[in-house]
């Protein structure tokens, strides 16, 4: 079996790779979004803390 033949999937390339491609894309996007959300949440917590410590001065 050579690679060209493998990627051709006996004519079903669009369907097979279209399925696996979207799975990888969806999972990667979800991981990025969850990480981004954590970063933003922590940033906001620090901003609130800094704003409050400014008020108390």
């Amino acid at each position: 079996m050579n690679w060209t033949e493998f990627f051709a999937m006996k004519g079903y390339a669009l369907y097979v790779w279209g399925s696996y491609g979207i799975v990888l894309l969806v999972l990667m996007v979800e991981i990025i979004l969850v990480r981004h959300k954590r970063k933003i949440t922590l940033q906001q917590l620090r901003l609130i803390r800094d704003a409050e410590s400014l008020e108390s001065i």
């Binding site: 999937m9 399925s19 979207i22 949440t41 922590l42 609130i48």
Partner: protein
Amino acid sequence: MAINWFKYSAPSTFYGLAGKMIPWLAWPAALLFCTGMYIGFFVAPTDAVQSEAYRIIFVHVPASILSMLIYLVMAGYAALGLIFNTRLSSMMATALAPTGALFAFISLWTGALWGKPMWGAWWVWDARLTSELILLFLYLGFIALQSSIEDPRRADRAGALLAIVGSVNVPIIYFSVQWWNTMHQGSTVKLSGTSMHIAMQQAMFSMLAAMWLYAIAISLSRVRSIILERERNTLWVAELAEVKQ
């Protein structure tokens, strides 16, 4: 020895526990995913009827199973939150919804890409496909409803009602292939055994385990941000190393 199970129902202790658990779930998930892909493409033989197109099964079936399972877990957590007024259960329900919605989407997408070459249609309005589409809409409805209500506790209760009522859809999806005459095939793997080639089973169960662990890991990561957001006025959050810096 008595274990205090309620200890971890407090958001403050659960936050730390979840953080420690994530790598122990995420790395085995990645490993199982690669194993499943390898067996699925290089060990499992070509199908006699569906040729190479059948390989979609290794992502389609696990994603579909998880889309239903996550819904039940989400509805269960939402119900616990509603009945016992436990904040963490409601936060878990909120954290599970986006992951469940994504698995429902993957199920429908890969199903369409499998349906086209095998049935000649991307989509048919039959019982299995329609009820899975309703599942995706239930997830999206739950997310939209919760984000439209400003008070988090009220959002939890409204979401819980929707999640509980919507859970009748899950057995409908599961039994749809038996109850109605449908295009969709029945289960290949049953309790009584299967006609499936051993390598095909190994690939499918590796992928199922991988996606299952992934779903737990990503939901735990998401719930950690939700906990921080909702507990932002507490001392324990203010004293966390990642907040203090």
